[in-house]
């Protein structure tokens, strides 16, 4: 199924609009899956997210200072740092959820697959579709379990019952919920336990075929068993997605991170592969944080 084909892709399929559609431009894409009756789904081979000179201020307080980052594909990147250092703001800026915050000022650029998300021509909803967001508190939509997952699909044009059923089943199986809920798909999602709700939110986010999974302290509201389930899911998913996880427990990062970004007071102090940062931190502050001097 994973045939590597060098193909032409249309703006609709890859979700990038505003990109100059040139018949001579070819993007490396691989056919990830097909659902009968629907167009095959392609995914860009190496997706990436590059942050350049990002500065974010809210009401004259600077939250992020000159952030320069590159999020690697197919890896779990953990953003660590003491509370209040801007990690959540950074994450929310990736999918432009910060746009409506009062008195916010954002300068710099974030390029997703080469397209600057702050460009006037960039279409927000297609950027957001690429980024799945998992919040700290599980947030099921006020609908049934089935509809929660189907909601995203319907937003992007999939209405056929058969297709929706297939997608719902596939996603629920993917997060390990299928057995637990297959008999009550049409019950309200709020009836699930918190751990189940969080997994449902993950399934919901995956149903729209994102490229990134952004998780903002996604396990801090859960019990240890559910947390472990989510972490295992991340490990399983990283081979297909770029996962960015904000975490304030160092232990979690130690457990699952491939790539680490350490932030302090709105600045990126250090970033790199996990072994490097954890075993040989270059910066004084990083060393202090790792030793537990402050959190």
């Amino acid at each position: 199924m994973m045939a590597t084909q060098v193909l032409e892709t249309t703006a609709l399929k890859t979700g990038i609009s505003g990109l100059p559609f040139n018949r001579n431009s070819i993007y490396r894409a691989e056919m990830v899956d097909t659902i009968p009756g629907i167009n095959p789904i392609y995914k860009l081979r190496n997706t990436n997210l590059k942050v350049r000179n990002l500065n974010v201020s809210i009401k004259k307080n600077q939250i992020l200072k000159n952030v320069n980052l590159e999020i690697p594909d197919r890896k779990i990147t953990c953003i660590i740092g003491p509370s209040g250092c801007g990690k959540s703001t950074l994450l929310k800026t990736f999918n432009r959820l910060n746009d409506d915050v009062e008195d916010i000022s954002i300068t710099g650029e974030i390029r997703v697959d080469g397209v600057n998300i702050f460009d006037k021509d960039t279409e927000i909803t297609s950027i957001r579709k690429k980024m799945g967001l998992l919040s700290q508190r599980p947030c099921p939509l006020p609908m049934s379990i089935f509809d929660n997952i189907a909601y995203g699909c319907k937003l992007h044009g999939i209405f056929k019952k058969k297709a929706l059923k297939e997608i719902v089943e596939r996603q629920l199986k993917g997060v390990g919920l299928w057995e637990e809920v297959k008999d009550r798909l049409h019950e309200p999602a709020v009836k699930l336990s918190i751990g189940q709700q969080q997994r449902l939110c993950l399934a919901r986010g995956l149903a729209v075929e994102p490229e990134f999974i952004l998780a903002d302290e996604a396990t801090s509201a859960l019990d240890p068993i559910s947390s472990k389930l989510i972490e295992d899911l991340f490990i399983k998913l990283k081979k297909d997605y770029a996962i960015v996880l904000v975490t304030h427990t160092l232990r979690q990062a130690l457990r699952i991170a491939d790539h680490v970004v350490f932030m302090y007071l709105g600045e990126v102090i250090e970033e790199g592969p996990a072994e490097d940062v954890f075993n040989n931190p270059k910066h004084e502050l990083t060393r202090k944080y790792l030793e537990g001097a402050f959190s």
């Binding site: 609709l12 937003l155 992007h156 044009g157």
Partner: protein, 282 residues
């Protein structure tokens, strides 16, 4: 599909803006109409004289009877209302805990009282007055309006008092104060709330017609005792409007303008107080 989603978004946005503009248009139109019709007939005579004989058929005079009548009634009922409501709000917030069932029931009762239309209060008060042999009078008007504004007072002050930081009360208790003595502290904290509640109630009371209809009666003179009937501005507007004479009708508009101006001033003062005081809140 995506083009429909953006079309829908655009249409929705247009509809929403239209709705909001419509609301603004209503406000503007009402104010404009009143000013436009009332201003030409607004003379010094209107506010300084009581109606002379034949006023309602075109004779001379003004609406001083109504202005003063309204003022008396509103002053009386505001005073009584405060007297009754402040202790109740204290009781609910300082003496009772948040979880108290009595407090919940009481608040529910006050919400219901808040929703009772003034005509029902009027009918009720009228029955009481007949029972006690009272005639339509200033006293009757004060009675009704007090009933009307007590729930308003209690609700708005309660809203403010509910948010009293517990630490404030604790600080007072730990100095050995009884609950009664703590009230001094509480008053200072919710003083702006009391002020806005008062203005809110005054605004509501002065504009009421249905309640005072049966109870305060109407008269062309200024009442000199609680037992005499009193005129009120809303009723004055109403009666003048029903006159066949176009002159009198114009004076009705002028009276309406006077009433509107009074209410606007009260409302603005209320906003000013809230804005001014919320800077200094704990």
């Amino acid at each position: 599909m995506s083009k429909y989603k953006f079309l829908e978004e655009k249409i929705a946005k247009v509809l929403m803006v239209v709705a909001t503009l419509l609301v603004l248009a209503f406000v503007g139109n009402i104010l404009y109409t009143i000013v436009h019709k009332g201003l030409p007939s607004l003379t010094w005579e209107m506010v300084s004289k009581i109606p002379e004989g034949g006023y309602y058929n075109g004779g001379g005079g003004g609406v001083l009877n109504a202005i003063v009548g309204s003022l008396y009634i509103v002053a009386g009922s505001t005073f009584l209302g405060l007297l009754i409501s402040i202790p109740v709000v204290f009781y609910l917030n300082v003496y009772l805990t948040k979880k108290s069932r009595f407090a919940y029931a009481a608040r529910l009762a006050f919400d219901v009282l808040f929703g009772i239309p003034s005509i029902v209060y009027g009918a009720f008060a009228f029955s009481i007055m007949i029972y006690f042999g009272m005639k339509t009078s200033l006293g009757g008007g004060i009675l009704v309006l007090t009933l009307l504004i007590i729930p308003i007072f209690i609700r708005s002050m309660d809203e403010v008092a509910k948010h009293l930081p517990k630490e404030l009360l604790d600080a007072s208790y730990s100095l050995g104060a009884t609950k009664l003595e703590t009230i001094g502290v509480v008053i200072r904290q919710i003083a702006p709330g009391i002020a806005t509640a008062t203005l809110l109630s005054i605004g509501r009371a002065i504009g009421d017609a249905a309640g005072v209809m049966f109870t305060a009666g109407f008269t062309d003179s200024i009442p000199t005792s609680l037992g005499q009937p009193a005129a009120t501005l809303p009723l004055s507007v109403f009666f003048q409007l029903s006159s066949p004479s176009a002159d009198v009708q114009n004076r009705a508009y002028a009276s309406a303008l006077i009433l509107t101006l009074i209410v606007l001033v009260i409302s603005l003062t209320g906003r000013f107080i809230t804005a001014h005081f919320s800077k200094n809140k704990v």
